[in-house]
């Protein structure tokens, strides 16, 4: 039965308008303002502006600190995405059994995701406090490692990687779990009958079938690793020691809000915008072939 539906020329626009307005207010306007400010140097109260052209951008790429931060952020992102997804997929595979209390596990697993990054930072900073931290004392007593993220740059970097991965773990596991549960059991059964071993089943059946989930998670985790580390860094390392954990977002914060270099920080936010656009574009292009979206 077909209901009568009077199509209007304006209805699609009306329905689209909320998101368009939101995108406009929260994305287009601030981004264009950033673009505008990136051509100026301002005094601290914003009462005087000097037009400096592309100087903020040229400075940025001649600033070894920025280049280091850029490389560090990419490295950090790769580590968080690769390790984070591998570990979560592993846990999801284990959890994807017909377990009792499955719903409870699932709820518990997603808890870390509900924490704000700053709280995550607090928890980890407390556990690994070089003086009073439970975890750092355990490391010291059992393995003889004196773990100190305050006066060891390598430790600091490892520390924020682990904390960042941990926070996203629950989110990833939940998505992988639902992906795994959507895999039709008859395909797996057929493969068992055909004599495929566990590894082969994983590689040739599960992995391709959950590829849309994986693809989605790769992008989400990349964005997460790139943009959402501020709270963690601010609470735990403040980018230090030296600039050892100074990721792009934190540098932007320092330059924009501590040093009050609005123009310089705006230039950085424009670069960040271009980076995320590029990353997303590349990922979509390269995944068109390898992601299987089913029928």
């Amino acid at each position: 039965m077909q209901t009568k539906f009077k199509s209007s020329k304006w209805l699609p626009y009306l329905l689209l308008s909320p998101s368009v307005i939101i995108v406009f207010i929260f994305f287009i306007i601030p981004s264009s303002e950033s673009l505008y400010y990136s051509f100026f140097r301002q005094n601290i109260t914003g009462t005087r502006k000097l037009f400096v052209g592309f100087e903020n951008f040229t400075r940025l790429f001649m600033d070894p600190e920025y280049i280091d931060s850029l490389i560090r952020s990419f490295l950090f992102t790769v580590i968080v995405v690769v390790f984070g997804l591998t570990i979560s997929l592993g846990i999801a595979m284990i959890a994807n059994k017909k377990l009792r209390f499955f719903n409870m596990y699932r709820t518990l697993l997603i808890w870390p995701y509900a924490l704000s990054p700053a709280i995550t930072g607090m928890i980890w900073a407390l556990m690994f406090n070089p003086t009073i931290g439970v975890a750092s004392n355990l490391l010291n007593n059992i393995f003889g490692i004196s773990f100190n993220y305050i006066n060891n740059s390598t430790h600091a970097m490892i520390f924020i990687c682990v904390a960042a991965i941990w926070k996203m773990l629950g989110y990833n596991i939940i998505f992988f779990l639902s992906g795994l549960q959507n895999v039709p059991p008859e395909i797996l059964e057929a493969s068992i009958i055909d004599g495929a071993n566990a590894w082969r089943r994983f590689r040739t059946i599960l992995l391709p079938l959950i590829s849309p989930t994986t693809f989605f998670l790769i992008i989400m985790n990349t964005l997460y690793a790139f943009f959402q580390q501020f709270g963690l860094l601010h609470v735990v390392t403040e980018g230090g020691p030296g600039r050892a954990t100074d990721l792009l977002v934190y540098k932007l914060y320092r330059d924009g809000f501590i040093s009050m270099n609005t123009g310089y920080a705006s230039a950085q936010s424009i670069i960040l915008l271009l980076i995320v656009a590029a990353v997303t574009f590349i990922q979509f292009k390269s995944s068109e072939k390898s992601v299987f979206y089913g029928t």
């Binding site: 995108v23 929260f26 109260t45 502006k49 943009f227 230090g240």
Partner: protein, 446 residues
């Protein structure tokens, strides 16, 4: 296909959200409103954390009970750097608090902000500025005038663990006076297994500044930015600066310097007995005495031989009156500042924290009641600062955007004592950055 479109949309929406939260706040130019933005309330943004918040709140309450017609709202606004940047952002947004606490490095920035009312213009003789403790008045005066009201003033001194000194066979009443002795004593204590390290610093970049003043060397040109011209160049990569960082690196390599992070992070491991000595602000004195379960000694900062004697620099913060409020509110704020300056409040503040009493008469009163004899550790910093020079080099630097310079130096010092990079190279690179901060600052200053 629909799923794909959905994924794309989801990702787009999420990235929009990510961007909007990461987006920087942008405000139009600052206009000075004449109306009362605070609704008649004296808002006071400060950075006094922990037990100090309660003391400041107590002052506000007592003041209000004495002046029922005035409402004071004291708001803890985070660390010093956060309070200053929040204040500046509020100024930009046209909603400034009435009173803003700014730490010493914000002084030049606040002066140039165009958003302040110098407090000397409000003073109709209610406060005799000659009553302000001399070194504090020297630090905060620009061209001989007080632009902000000193409130919590401190300096750096050496804290040490007397029990550890005793256990290692050192005389607990003879603290190290030179860099060499610091190293030697630390080694003794560490070799005897009493501590993991010898010494640590709070506010390392500040201690580096202190060391320049203490050895009577300029940190920046134009007499530390105090000869009427703004400082345009930093001088810390000279022979003294390199020598200090080379020493610190030597200590760090030997495990003598147990780097503990910026601001007050090194206090906890000192209290826990991880190292024997700590160079920290006097404002930590009351807190450390309360928490330490060992006998705490206090002493002058260690010096290197071969340099003139300078002085330790005043740190801490002062309170600024911001434009944008009615005359009544300004008058009420000035009333509150007078109250804070009162002898009895200055005395109580000093006793509760370790900050200097900013009022000379409070110092006299403390002496008269025998406080310093009873609590000689509260006198150490006074003796240090009153026994030092009043030269311009010893008064500390006034720098534009000092907040950023502090941060650059904080990272530079970490590069030397944690990442073990070459001191001279690091200082030269830091100078380039800091000089650019100064030239950028001058290019936009009015």
């Amino acid at each position: 296909m629909r799923k794909k479109v959905f994924t794309v949309l989801l990702i787009l929406a999420t990235s929009v959200m990510l961007f909007s939260t990461g987006q920087k706040e942008e405000e139009g130019s600052y206009s000075l409103p004449d109306d009362v933005k605070s609704g008649g309330t004296v808002t006071f943004w400060h950075a006094m954390s922990g037990s100090k918040t309660a003391i400041v709140d107590g002052y506000a309450e007592e003041f209000m009970s004495l002046h029922p017609e005035i409402k004071v709202e004291a708001v803890y606004s985070g660390s010093y750097a956060e309070t200053v940047t929040k204040g500046l952002a509020a100024i930009k947004a046209g909603k400034p608090p009435v009173l803003l606490m700014s730490y010493e490095v914000g002084t030049q920035t606040m002066l140039d902000s165009g958003a302040i009312i110098p407090i000397y213009t409000l003073n109709k003789g209610e406060i005799d500025f000659n009553d302000v403790t001399a070194p504090i008045a020297n630090y905060y005066s620009v061209n001989g005038k007080l632009n902000s009201m000193p409130f919590n003033s401190s300096t750096a001194m050496l804290y040490y663990n007397k029990d550890m000194f005793r256990a290692a066979g050192l005389d607990p009443d003879v603290p190290p006076k030179t860099f060499e002795e610091v190293y030697e004593y630390s080694k003794k204590i560490m070799d005897a297994g009493h501590a993991r390290g010898g010494i640590s610093f709070g506010w390392p970049a500040w201690i580096f500044e202190q060391m320049h003043a203490y050895h009577n060397k300029f940190y920046a040109n134009n007499d530390n930015g105090r000869n009427g011209n703004r400082a345009s160049e930093v001088l810390f990569n000279g022979e003294l600066g390199v020598k200090i960082l080379t020493e610190w690196q030597k200590w760090a390599k030997a495990g003598v310097l147990s780097y503990g992070g910026r601001t007050y992070k090194a206090n906890d491991p000192f209290i826990a007995g991880e190292f024997a000595m700590l160079v920290q602000s006097t404002s930590s004195l009351a807190g450390i005495l309360k928490s330490a379960d060992f006998e705490v000694g206090t002493a002058f900062l260690p010096k290197m031989p071969g340099y003139e004697k300078g002085n330790s620099v005043i740190g801490g913060a002062s309170i600024w009156l911001l434009k944008g409020h009615s005359d009544e509110v300004n008058a009420a704020a000035w009333e509150f500042l007078q109250y804070l300056f009162e002898e009895k409040n200055a005395v109580a503040w000093h006793k509760a924290t370790g900050y200097f009493p900013v009022n000379k008469r409070a110092y006299g009163k403390l002496t008269d009641e025998g406080w310093f004899n009873k609590e000689p550790r509260f006198r150490t910093a006074f003796d240090q600062i009153l026994g030092g020079s009043n030269s311009k080099a010893a008064s500390g630097a006034l720098l534009g955007n000092f907040v950023e310079i502090r941060d650059i130096m904080g990272a530079a010092i970490e590069d030397v004592v944690v990442n073990m990079k070459d001191p001279k190279t690091i200082l030269d690179a830091a100078k380039v950055k800091c000089d650019r901060v100064l030239s950028d600052y001058i290019s936009t200053a009015e």
